[in-house]
Amino acid sequence: MFRAVAATIGRMINRLTDTLNFQAEALVLRSERQRVIASNIANADTPGYVAKDMDFASALRQATGQAATPAQMQATAAGHIRPLAGARSEAGLRYATAAQTNLDSNSVDMDRERASFADNSVKYEATLRFINGSVRTLLDAIKGQSS
């Protein structure tokens, strides 16, 4: 009897936190992409710098387990580095091609980077609102109709 109740509650909690987990992964990825775009804007005048961007859709799919993440390197000794794997990793970032070629072979297109930055900021905020919304829904459900 108690075991059945515990299992039901466990499933309920899982269902409640699944949305939160998904949004939390999305938030972390959004902030990582923000960092990548900030790097591009910072290096707008660096000769030879190649602009990078994250394939957000596949990074999110890998982070939430909807797609398989490529195997990660194993650290078998204390000094080993263990880089991230998949679309969010350094190696998984895509290189941007320059819209207009440049003599110093810098491929940062400031218009595009500014647009991506604004886009990413808005979506980061949207994710924050989704999280706030689900927290509020959960709190309402827990408190019930008090009046």
Binding site: S31, Q34, S39, I41, A42, A44, D45, T46
Partner: protein, 134 residues
């Protein structure tokens, strides 16, 4: 939290661009400097930017690797009455090109503004993140 590194990245860019602005200011200030007794006038300086990895993956800041001096020949003006004129009556000025420096200045100030705006946006987003769940 990778959002905090945005401040390191954009901060490094802002300081590099302000150094570039400094160099432009000294070039413009010395645009009309004539050659001294040793015969060499002021040489235009130029900063060289380089990507600086900031620890974590995909955090690429920027730094000034060197300040290089231009080897271009100085501007020579025929003015025999000038106290610094040489035996042929020519005065050698610095090799600063004022137009190039103005363009450089505008580019540096635009990049500076871009990076400041990036930091402002990151700050707003972080503040909203801190208020999460309230």
């Amino acid at each position: 939290m990778s959002m905090f590194q945005v401040f390191n990245i954009s901060g490094s860019a802002v300081s590099a661009q302000s150094q570039r602005l400094n160099v432009v200011a000294s070039n413009l200030a010395n645009a009309d400097t004539v050659a001294g007794p040793d015969g060499s006038a002021y040489k235009a300086r130029q900063v060289v930017f380089q990507t600086e990895m900031m620890g974590a993956v995909s955090a690429a800041g920027v730094k000034v690797s060197t300040v290089s001096e231009s080897d271009a020949a100085g501007r020579r003006v025929h003015d025999p009455k000038h106290p610094s004129a040489d035996a042929e009556g020519y005065v050698t000025y610095s090799n600063v090109n004022a137009v190039e420096e103005m363009v450089n200045m505008i580019s540096a100030s635009r990049s500076y503004q871009n990076n400041v705006e990036v930091m402002n946006t990151a700050k707003t987003l972080l503040q909203k993140t801190l208020q999460l769940g309230s």
